[in-house]
Amino acid sequence: MENNLDLFDKYIDGSLSDEERKTFNERLEHDSKFAEDFRIHIMILDGIYREAWEENTAFGMAMRNISEAALIRAIGRYDNTGDSDDTWDSLGLAAGFSESRWLSACISDKWDESDMVLPPPPPEFDIIDIGSAAENADNSDNSDNSDKSDSSDNSDSARSSRRQRLLTWGWAASVAVLVAIGATLSLSIMSDGRANVDDTIVAYNYIYTPSRDGSEQVDLKTLSDSELRNILPELVKDYRDADSDDMQGGEEAGMRLAMAYLMLHDRSKARDVLKEMSVRYADDREFAAQCQDILARIR
């Protein structure tokens, strides 16, 4: 079956020549294995098509009949506009909006509407009135109280300058804190970005094939990070011990190992395995191309 998929597809599409079609039909009559493979291939595609058709039809009908209000509810429509020229606003830092939290929520599909609600803006900067305290301290040190008005004027001036210095210092401190938060968030976003790239690569390249021949094979996606680390030695062993004659087995074992490394975001080890496999299985050009493609994504 594995070598006949292209032939089956050409037959389905009607792209075989007359001679090829005749040969195909003769094989269907005389080669029982070939015929069985073709029947199963058609059965699979027929099943997938019927399922796809039903889902597709249901969606079309739903979109035709859904009310505008219900559609808005279904897609969770909100006003998420913002001036992209305003760096602070776009990052939401001024409002304390945690973009990394939202990114994680969105990408993990655990997003809900509460994540879209901006928190209240930070409180206004509180001016610490230490003028009175300073005045009291000054007055306690100042034994000359003969000219109370003059000292009062001086105290006011002193308080004012102190407030100004405090305001300036406080503002500078706030800016420094925000810059630090921004840098941390940026690093966090970059780190989250790389992790999300790894997760997406795994989503597209990892296929769990449950083994029915008695050997246990765990779906790596169901494991926690610690559980993954625990079975890494076993995955390494499976890959190293793969029979040199069993190319498919070796490729599957190697890809499982590479994907496990990516799930743990250990790109270095994943690259090592993928590079090795692209050389070892160079004869299987499709698989080698797949390895090269993944390598290009995690360089």
Binding site: I40, H41, I42, F59, M63, T209, M247, D283
Partner: protein, 216 residues
């Protein structure tokens, strides 16, 4: 019934959102596109689809998954051309592969069903086994198979829509190869599992073998 429609739309919205937003964010990663912009575009897509349906500008048997991706890409490109988001019509191809190929496969299936010698299609158990194995199939296998066989898309087109890492300037053929390789592997695995299950159920006689390069 209204609640059912809302549930169906919500389910589709949530199931495609990850792929769509990841695709846009990666495609426009060198721009100032924010996650919020991608989310907005995705929501606009659904609003535009409903509008197009009500105005009779889209066929009823459209393959919606591909249509959503296409219209979203169209909107995103307009977003960056700052040409507004009002015109969201995608020209549909005259030949709708979704129905065409699907009908061919269904017809072949019916021919087999009509055949006295074929036992698989007459077996309720076989069909049930098939259903279970399809349900058990991981993504993105089923999506790639659906898009390949019934979405009317080339491997490059599927790579553009499903694969989020199309490098600028990199030939599409490279990603198309990955799609082809993935589809081939998915069908291999699915076929193997179905055959093994049918064999274990006693419906077919030959135990499936694992593939090796030299035929062993």
């Amino acid at each position: 019934m209204a609640q059912i429609y809302e549930d169906i739309v919500r389910e589709w919205y949530m199931s495609l959102r990850g792929d769509f937003i990841t695709f846009l964010m990666d495609r426009y990663r060198n721009t100032n596109m924010r996650l919020a912009d991608a989310e907005n575009i995705y929501q606009d897509v659904f609003i535009a689809i409903r509008k197009n349906i009500l105005e009779g500008r889209v066929k009823e048997d459209t393959y919606w998954r591909a249509y959503i991706m296409k219209i979203g890409l169209n909107m995103a490109e307009k977003f960056f051309r700052k040409a507004g988001l009002t015109d969201s019509i995608i020209e549909q191809e005259e030949d709708d592969e979704f129905q065409k190929r699907g009908r061919r496969i269904t017809d072949l299936g019916k021919q087999m069903q009509a055949s006295e010698e074929d036992s698989i299609y007459h077996s309720e158990e076989a069909l049930q086994i098939l259903g279970e194995e399809l349900e058990f199939s991981p993504e993105p296998c089923l999506s790639i198979i659906k898009m390949s066989y019934f979405g009317g898309l080339s491997d490059s087109g599927i790579a553009e829509i499903l694969h989020p890492y199309r490098d600028n300037g990199k030939p599409a053929a490279v990603n198309a190869k990955a799609v082809k390789a993935r589809r081939w592997l998915c069908l291999q695995n699915l076929g193997y599992r179905v055959k093994l299950a049918l064999y274990e159920a006693g419906i077919i006689d030959d135990k499936p073998e694992r593939r090796t390069r030299d035929g062993k």
